[in-house]
């Protein structure tokens, strides 16, 4: 027995991101079932849930890597309109390169491991049409600097870097074109705790300086607690609960969320 919340009355801006009724199956397995989500401009939406809850699949839908069988996806941006799931492959690629940045848990998914770090970041800008070497180099350096990557290692390939540094290169690549939306898929999982804290701090700083809208997926509640304004809890492909981050952690309503929060050390 809880109260049903009203629709927003004070905040009149529309959500930047809106996903409505998306579903996706892999053979007999339904990974995501009729999920809706939204994020307001400048907001950080956290998605938590155990492995197989569908949270990463949902994030990849937001990056237009996975196309759901049903539903709609819109971004409220000046030159973007309609259901993005209906775009052709070329338009999709252009949109992702210019409006959306993503950081994966596994840097191999996001980076060319044997190319230089600055080259990895500059590639993003090339896709968007930039051709001047000086501009590419300067923009890549700026993005790496903002991600707190040590600038004396600009030319080192990611394969020679530590896990924390690889994530900074991914982050620099993701923000190089100043995207409206930054997607983070377990960005600190696998890093040791002190490095994890530094990467989280960089993310928090970027978010505050640039007011960038973020969606972060993690099974680590500490990561979500540090970054998210609002939290969505997923289980078996469905959303079981959403709420303000402090409410989800202090007063979880759903039995599964209670179990998840209480299991945290």
């Amino acid at each position: 027995m809880t109260l049903t919340l009203d629709a927003p009355r004070i905040v009149e801006t529309r959500p930047l991101l809106e996903v409505h009724g998306v579903s996706k199956s892999y053979g007999p397995v339904q990974a995501v079932r009729n999920v809706s989500a939204h994020a307001y401009p400048g907001e950080v939406l956290g998605i938590v849930g155990e492995s197989g809850s569908g949270k990463s699949t949902l994030l990849r839908m937001m990056n237009l890597e996975e196309i759901p069988e049903a539903g709609s996806y819109t971004l409220d941006l000046p030159d973007v309109s309609g259901n993005l799931l209906e775009l052709d492959r070329f338009a999709r690629r252009m949109l992702c390169a210019t409006k959306i940045g993503i950081v994966y848990q596994n840097p191999h998914l996001g980076l060319l491991m044997k190319h230089s770090s600055s080259g990895n970041v500059a590639e993003r800008l090339l896709v968007a049409g930039e051709r001047s070497f000086a501009t590419l180099r300067a923009a890549a350096t700026e993005a790496l600097d903002a991600s707190e990557f040590p600038l004396d290692r600009l030319d080192a390939p990611p394969i020679e870097l530590s896990g924390g540094m690889q994530q900074r290169v991914q982050l620099a690549k993701a923000i190089a074109l100043e995207p409206a939306l930054l997607l983070l898929d377990e960005p600190t999982t696998g890093l040791d705790v002190s490095v994890q804290a530094l990467v989280l701090d960089t993310l928090k700083r970027l978010q505050q300086d640039r007011q960038i809208t973020m969606v972060i997926v993690s099974h680590d509640l500490g990561v979500i607690r540090t970054l998210a304004d609002r939290v969505m809890v997923m289980r078996r492909g469905e959303v079981v609960e959403t709420g303000l981050a402090d409410q989800i952690f202090q007063d979880p309503q759903h039995p599964y969320t209670q179990q998840l929060v209480h299991a945290k050390l």
Partner: protein, 237 residues
């Protein structure tokens, strides 16, 4: 006096699913708070004082009742307001002070204090100037302004916390034992700042272990002990 908050038959309890147990916190609480009024919550440990504050701030979801808040956007029921509206009001009109600072690594004391002003749209230099003034008022030495509070002692962290929480005048302020771990000077600065905010019309609801510190600010006492007299007027102060 203009009402800021009207709490109407508010009820909160917790359902602990793994124990299959419902734990009541408080039931059918009603009272109002006017602009510039300071309400002290009292009651034994476990009477639900902190739970009530957190429910008003919406860290806890109420089971029933209404929390009518006269925001600058009009009347809104915080018990049912959309998350995004609550988040917005927390940045602009509703404050909450606890005894804990959530220090972040590599963020300086002055930046932490200036943050609420920056989020409210202040120019960053003006925000920084105000933040330094606030730190000075609470007795944080200038040498420490640019340092990271993660390494400060509990008392110094609490001063930074208070400077931050009180820097932006709000319509409604909840105080959950803010005087714990403060030295006498900082306590004095806190009381002075609360008086200032009260004079500017901030409505306050507080829980204090030692209410002596704030005695002269208190307008009314609400006793949450079940079956206690609903409220005591404090005309004597």
């Amino acid at each position: 006096m203009t009402q800021v908050l009207e709490i109407d038959r508010l009820t909160k309890g917790f359902s602990l699913h793994h124990l299959e147990k419902d734990i009541p916190a408080f039931e059918d609480i009603s009272f109002g708070v006017a602009a510039g009024e300071f309400v002290l919550l009292k009651g034994a440990n476990g009477a639900g004082k902190s739970t009530l504050l957190r429910t008003l701030y919406r860290s806890y979801l109420p089971l029933s009742g209404e929390i009518r808040f006269h925001s600058s956007y009009g009347l809104i029921d915080l018990a049912r307001a959309a998350d995004v509206d609550v988040a917005h009001l927390r940045r602009t009109e509703i404050g909450f002070i606890t005894q804990f600072l959530t220090a972040r690594p590599r963020v300086s004391a002055e930046a932490i204090v200036a943050e609420p002003l920056r989020l409210a749209g202040w120019d960053s230099q003006a925000a920084l100037d105000s933040a330094r003034k606030a730190l000075e008022t609470f007795g944080v030495k200038p040498d420490l302004w640019a340092a990271y509070p993660t390494t400060f002692s509990g008392g110094e962290q609490q001063k930074v916390n208070l400077a931050r929480a009180l820097i932006l005048p709000q319509k409604l302020l909840m105080l959950d034992e803010p005087t714990a771990s403060l030295d006498a000077n900082a306590r004095g600065a806190l009381v002075a700042r609360l008086q200032e905010l009260k004079d500017q019309g901030t409505a306050m609801i507080g829980v204090f272990h030692h209410p002596d510190d704030v005695m002269h600010l208190i307008d009314r006492v609400i006793d949450l002990t079940p079956d206690a007299a609903p409220e005591e007027e404090r005309d004597d102060v």
